[in-house]
Symmetry: C2
Subunit: 251 residues, 2 copies
DNA sequence: GACAATGTTCCTTTAATAGGAACAAATTTC
DNA sequence: GAAATTTGTTCCTATTAAAGGAACATTGTC
């Protein structure tokens, strides 16, 4: 990845600090991103003047509080998030499991919002994080209904667990089944012990494209006892409510 | 505010888009920030290549999903947030009201995390948002225990409601009372109908400075019936638990 | 269908950036 | 405890990227 503009270099620094668990020094950042020490320092100073990075006691840099403000605002700005939030909360309260909203952005599948369940063992996806296409329920939905907005990765399908779909023909079959049933599921295919059932939020009025997906995540045994078919119908109804609220709000 | 570096101009665009409720055009952004149309366009392109801004169907720009990822990560990085989260959740569940964590950053008081209550009418502060110093419970705590990390605004004290403290002598008295009791409260002083009781999280081991504050927010009638003194003691205990977890984790 | 406003691209002057080197703290090593 | 090494910060000038006017393309409007 070749940074071209100064702005992009600064953003690369932000993402690098984001990826690092601990605060980083100027020298280390510069070395990692191929920037001179003085350039790195100047970029960090500019970011610091706007509160996007902070310096700790020892002069090390880490991501700043300004990023939090910008990020949370960006979420609330997404109309689909505003439309979905009450539905997520209602479903999470009714099921006692984590319910979340996922959508495609720039060819990747990203967690937009969540409402967590009550269990001691519960799914807690990170808002803003990316999930794999070929090993998740939402990924299958996007392959079935997304109209090419998301594609399965090129080359070998990464194997996350014993249950991960490895062959493209098997993936195509799973996608076809999702297209037929209208919802998709995933048992241990990404994270062992985690099951997800997801339904697509389709724009009913305009062009009928897929706006997002509503999904419930639970430990596999609990999902088993809840009944996948019943949960699937429930998610379809929830997704329809989100779509109705979205079109009502967006008007 | 005069932008000096290119990076700062780009960040100013981000904050401007963040402040605007709707997507903005290149011309409008440039006019607002004093940038030429072509410069604005180039900065937006750079931000867009890294996913920090997005373009809608009509070519308008708004904040992008990349900011969400950066922001959420930045929050989880704050050790005080990690230490406080279970305490916030436990208190929110026990009280049924919104409990949140607030701290001073760069001289301002900022909401770091929250766990919302269950009421139909409930406080829902925005994570990352700034709250006023002289009209909030946490503001009084920082004036009492913050060691100068936060100061009351210069000039006239802004009047948010009929209950807002207007005179500096009255503010000093409220701060003195907070210093004496160890916790602070706020009834309708910022937002009419909203009451808050807050307790400071003090570093017990090292230098004893104020790390953050734990606060519970509720509609004024409900706070009245819960009993301010009892809630104050409860918040003091919660803040002590946060401090203990913080020092235990940070070790 | 003509007009106005907006997003995008092009090009040259201008000004900010890059990066080496020197300096100052802090940390590590002996 | 002192020397040595690493690291954050500042300074300076050749270089390079950014700024801004103008032309072009596109969209929405009257």
């Amino acid at each position: 990845m070749q940074a071209q503009s100064t702005v992009e270099k600064a953003i690369d620094i932000l993402f690098h600090l984001h990826a690092e668990p601990h605060a980083c020094g100027v020298t280390a950042i510069g070395r990692r991103l191929g920037l001179s020490k003085s350039s790195t320092h100047r970029l960090l100073s500019a970011l610091g003047r706007r509160g996007l990075v902070e310096k700790d006691d020892r002069g090390r840099y880490r991501t700043g509080i300004g990023l939090v403000a910008l990020g949370v605002g960006a979420l609330d700005r997404e109309p689909i998030v505003a439309a979905a939030r009450p539905v997520l909360e209602a479903e999470a309260a009714a099921l006692g499991e984590t319910v979340f909203l996922v959508a495609a952005r720039a060819g990747r599948i990203i967690v937009l919002d969540k409402s967590e369940g009550e269990g001691f063992l519960r799914a807690s996806p990170r808002i803003g994080s990316t999930v794999p296409v070929h090993a998740t329920a939402v990924g299958k939905l996007y392959l079935a209904f997304g109209g090419g907005s998301v594609e399965a990765p090129a080359g070998e399908l990464e194997k996350f667990s014993n249950a991960t779909i490895a062959r493209r023909s098997a993936l195509a079959a799973a996608v076809a089944r999702a297209a037929e049933r209208g919802f998709a599921e995933n048992s241990d295919e990404w994270i062992p012990g985690l099951s997800v059932v997801a339904a697509p939020v389709m724009a009913t009025a305009s062009d009928g494209r897929m706006l997002a997906a509503v999904a419930v995540a639970a430990p596999t045994p609990r999902m088993q006892s809840l009944g996948r078919e019943e949960i699937g119908r429930r998610m379809l109804a929830a997704a329809a409510r989100v779509a109705a609220r979205f079109e009502g709000v967006a008007q």
